[in-house]
């Protein structure tokens, strides 16, 4: 069953095969939660909740997939759920990153220095991403973090291929600018701190 494609596994799940569901979860829980975690600014519990909700919608809204391949459909559901979360007034995102959250992002097996460095880098990239609007952030993460192809991203976000490319290009320019200014700011703080 491991060799079955995503769509075949989904068909098996909908025919009542729990083993197929286990395989789908093994394939997608980690990358999907990782994508949501980044998209949600490092909110791990929320990312897990939305991952669960995504899979539940896969099971409940199985007829909505149409001819769409499974992977873009799955990521589309997840992205829409994150979008809904951003839109809801009660849970409007707070830009600054919670240091405790950032601390948790560091791999446990890393040494103390590596942990500190990785934590700092994680904070920086997360803060830089946070300056981008949601559509640029989602497009960049889908391509460079979740490894979706350009066509899959177009399917996921329901936008033309040209728009995917332009969002990636603009997104990279803005992200680079945000990272540069963050690094300059950090360097300035360091200089001021050392005086």
């Amino acid at each position: 069953m491991e060799r079955l494609g995503d769509e075949q596994l989904l068909a098996a799940v909908l025919a009542g095969e729990m083993a197929a569901l286990t395989l789908l979860v093994k394939r997608y829980q980690r990358p999907l939660t990782g994508y949501l975690e980044r998209l949600l600014g490092g909110d791990w519990p929320l990312a897990q909740d939305l991952t669960q909700e995504t899979f539940l919608r896969v099971l409940r809204q199985r007829d909505c997939r149409g001819q769409r391949p499974f992977k873009p459909w799955l990521y589309a559901i997840a992205t829409n759920l994150a979008r809904d979360h951003f839109k809801s007034a009660a849970s409007r995102r707070v830009a600054p990153l919670d240091p405790l959250l950032a601390e948790n992002l560091v791999a446990e097996e890393a040494g103390p220095e590596e942990q500190a460095l990785a934590q700092e880098r994680g904070q920086t990239i997360m803060a830089a991403l946070d300056t981008l609007s949601e559509e640029y952030r989602a497009t960049l993460l889908l391509r460079f973090s979740s490894d979706l192809s350009l066509h899959e991203i177009a399917d996921t976000l329901d936008i033309p291929l040209g728009t995917v490319k332009s969002r990636l290009t603009v997104g990279l320019r803005r992200l680079r600018a945000a990272l540069s200014s963050a690094e300059e700011r950090d360097a300035r703080y360091e200089r001021e701190g050392s005086r």
Partner: protein, 289 residues
């Protein structure tokens, strides 16, 4: 571009993949240089690690929403749970395949055997075994053509989708065909013995061993050729061999019981090879879209 970076070889692969991803954007060399560290930062950003507990929790939450299996699927599962060992499973699969062979197959096979017995007992030919050497493999030809005709009809996909694997189906069908042929062989030897023939065992070998050889050859050839062509080639080749043997030009082709036993062993080996190849070369047999 994996979620968690690990080995250096993987790192090189990811760098290559990231560069390729940037090239897709028609980036200029300057942009490539500027963006490469940015996408690497995105890629290196490791998140939380999921545990088996997280996976179990998600599966537990999803389980109530998985539809119940259909009654057909439930029945198949129940049947599989009841099955008693591999032999029982094979016999049951073979039993379900019996209907694949129509009444005409059983009757024609029996008729060919009967004709072989009558001709052998009538002493119409100087070599009693010759007619049996020709008629035995004819059963193999018929059996192969009938048992594996589904491939010609484009039903292989259906067979692939059913519960027993194509290999199990092939074995089950061979068990039916060869089992029936051996049964006919037993009846043949009984008839020969009752008819007063000498060397009943040798005659039986003349009938059964070429049958195995042609069956093995036909099945092996069927992996590359249409089933009809493969069976015809195998049987035609055997008839040509017999024809050459009876001409005065090639008197040095005597078929002794020992050489026939050897041919039978070769046939069994070919059957085994064909079954293994059937398993590994399944993609060759699928209909081309």
């Amino acid at each position: 571009m994996s979620y968690t970076p690990n080995e250096s070889g993987e790192q090189d692969k990811r760098d290559t993949a990231l560069t390729a991803a940037l090239h897709e954007l028609d980036a200029t060399p300057d942009e490539l240089r500027e963006w490469a560290p940015v996408v690497r930062r995105l890629d290196e950003w490791s998140g939380h690690a999921l545990t088996a507990v997280d996976e179990g929790r998600l599966l537990a939450a999803l389980a109530p929403y998985v539809p119940a299996p259909s009654p057909v699927r439930q029945a198949i599962r129940a049947r599989m749970a009841q099955r008693s060992g591999q032999l029982g499973w094979l016999i049951e699969t073979a039993r379900t395949q019996v209907s694949l062979f129509g009444l005409d197959f059983w009757l024609v096979s029996a008729l060919i055997t009967l004709v072989g017995v009558v001709v052998a007992l009538s002493n119409a030919l100087p070599d009693q075994g010759l007619i049996l050497r020709a008629s035995g493999p004819l059963l193999a030809y018929l059996g192969t053509v009938v048992a594996f005709r589904g491939r010609e009809a484009g039903t292989l996909e259906l067979e692939l989708a059913c519960l027993p694997s194509p290999l199990q189906l092939a074995i089950a069908r061979l068990v039916i065909v060869l089992g029936y042929d051996i049964g006919l062989g037993a009846a043949l030897s009984l008839a020969l013995w009752a008819g007063g023939a000498r060397d009943v065992l040798a005659l039986l070998l003349s009938w059964l061993m070429p049958l195995l050889l042609v069956a093995g050859l036909a099945l092996l050839l069927s992996l590359r050729l249409p089933i009809q062509a493969a069976a015809s080639l195998a049987y035609g080749g055997w008839l040509a061999f017999l024809a050459i043997g009876v001409t005065p030009l090639f008197p040095a082709l005597p078929l002794t019981p020992l050489s026939e036993l050897l041919l039978g062993a070769v046939g069994l080996a070919l059957l085994a090879v064909a079954l293994l190849r059937l398993h590994t070369s399944m993609w060759r047999l699928l209909p081309i879209a």
